[in-house]
Symmetry: C2
Subunit: 347 residues, 2 copies
Amino acid sequence: MVEKTSKNSKVSLAQVARAAGVSKMTASRVLRDEGGYSEETRRRVMEQVDHLGYLPNRLATVFAGDQSSTFIGVSIPDLGNEVFAQVLEGIDRKLGTFGYQSVLGLTQHTLAEEENWIRTVLSWQPAGLILTGRYHSQRANDMLLNAGIPVIEIWDLNSSPLDMSVGINHFDSGFDMGRYLMACGYRNIGYVGTSHDTANAATERLTGFCKAVEGAGGHVVKQLCLHDTATYYPGFYGTEQLLAAASDVDCIHYQNDAMAFGGLQYCERRGLSIPEDIGIAGWGDLPIASVLKRRLTSCHISHLKLGQSAAEMMLARLSGEPVPKCLDIGFTLIPGSTVRNPDRGTA
Amino acid sequence: MVEKTSKNSKVSLAQVARAAGVSKMTASRVLRDEGGYSEETRRRVMEQVDHLGYLPNRLATVFAGDQSSTFIGVSIPDLGNEVFAQVLEGIDRKLGTFGYQSVLGLTQHTLAEEENWIRTVLSWQPAGLILTGRYHSQRANDMLLNAGIPVIEIWDLNSSPLDMSVGINHFDSGFDMGRYLMACGYRNIGYVGTSHDTANAATERLTGFCKAVEGAGGHVVKQLCLHDTATYYPGFYGTEQLLAAASDVDCIHYQNDAMAFGGLQYCERRGLSIPEDIGIAGWGDLPIASVLKRRLTSCHISHLKLGQSAAEMMLARLSGEPVPKCLDIGFTLIPGSTVRNPDRGTA
DNA sequence: AAGAATTAAGTTACCCGTAACGTAAACGTA
DNA sequence: TACGTTTACGTTACGGGTAACTTAATTCTT
């Protein structure tokens, strides 16, 4: 199949053509199944392709400007947060089945990293970009608008996106959770999350959450872990810190379910019973929630679907189909049983 | 900064050069900081670069064969498994800081997917590849050997890799766990994991595990969830199935900590106390273990470090430094307290 | 059987940068 | 002053494919 001797440098179409005794163009036509060659010629070319182990150089094709590439740049804040890992999985699986490749960028929640990554990835002539979040640096915005390729901003639904947007309204989601917890009779509510320099979706949820709680006469005590990844341990120690600073909170809402689980563990270790002594509400309905004894109060989003939808939108756009500017994939509040029942009213 | 009018097609170096009143070559020299131009010329060129929003087309550079690309193909089985998400994060962060980009491929644990992905990604002339696992299809092997670029097989340490290898010896890790559980006095040991068509590291751990257990007079009952991702819920119901089929197991070892946590939750719900009624041992020392009440018996691997090491090896190799063929990053057995104490011997 | 149409090719030009080489002007030196 | 050197450019060629065009041979049509 493959000549061990050709290990060094790459086999070009010209070499295949020469070996098959035809012109580059004919070999190219055979490889692209374009027609206009005899069966005998096809056979001879394919024989040499096989024999020399020829792999086409897609750079040349794209470079020639005849086609666009099959790269899609995908930027994600981090992968330690299961939420984003799932979104990425949804994106890449869908793109992969249609012959596109994700070029990854982990922005670590900073706009500067994102800007650098955008600059680099654009120089590779991607077919499109999928970015997490709606906030970008000014230069990033300029580059994106100038690039002339589809750009989808995911996660954080943006009513006036650069180009397209898929996600949910985080403010509303936070607001609904706040209203629900107030309906359950809580008044002194803690929030445990992480904090980054850049405004993000979690910030918007918190804003909505506070608005709902405070609007209904409640009070929110925040505990933000600086520059941390929103996962189990920050949830655990964030809860410890919160309770040390404000021992009278009757319910804690977390940035996501992983943090909520960390908090759950802390409370259990402290001997607090859920939801009698304290209510716990997460966000995101992560897989871990599927095995807990009590259904975790949370907010469901299909992360995989979000990723897939974004990828589908990208693919549709690339094949020239009409595509909506915004796609709201929605969320569902999960009452669960780690907070009191709303029927019982103010305990 | 940017002309809104240039929105349509890309600005080329030739356009910048023309606008600045110099030749392409001079503009190229300015952009590459090569010297050989006056300060006045530099200023004029940069002014136009800024004005036209010029972004270099790296395809052209690579294509010309003067440089290699900064793509590194990275294949990972799936991202639902936290382990691989962490490895990928380690890889991409390290690569990113050195100006390289990961081109992702999710192989879904199948060699056919991997082969397709390899073919595609090679056509983009990557600077190197990082693959998960040591098993590849014959055609994939041929392509990899022929590609003439660095290839690192990670996760599963391979004493005779295609090129380079970073990971741990999974057989040994399984063996050590088996020996440890036997030392704790368990004899009838369950194993809960997932099952895929392709041989993989988990299979090797299981082999080592069985060898140790059976070699010391114990017995292993396996429960493999078909085609599932190794996460919480399969751990939960896998445990249910295992206990239904073999109620006499005194200890269960899981493919990873996420599954072990699922099992832990099932046991708790069943009213089984850990480790009195049944021992639980995971693998991987995942973040969730950091907040559990009892230290989970597990096996520690630094996933992030694994990814970073692989990336470092790749970068070193690309800059021509000598690099070892194999790098064993090691593992550490974590005794934990979800199995009996080995001192007490056979209970 | 002659011209038209089709088939199976080959040839040329181009995509966008950069290496390699060429050149004119300014400068340095004996 | 004459010649070598440096500076600051410009020109040409190339890489690996493909679009667009050309050409030669074969087949079809009337």
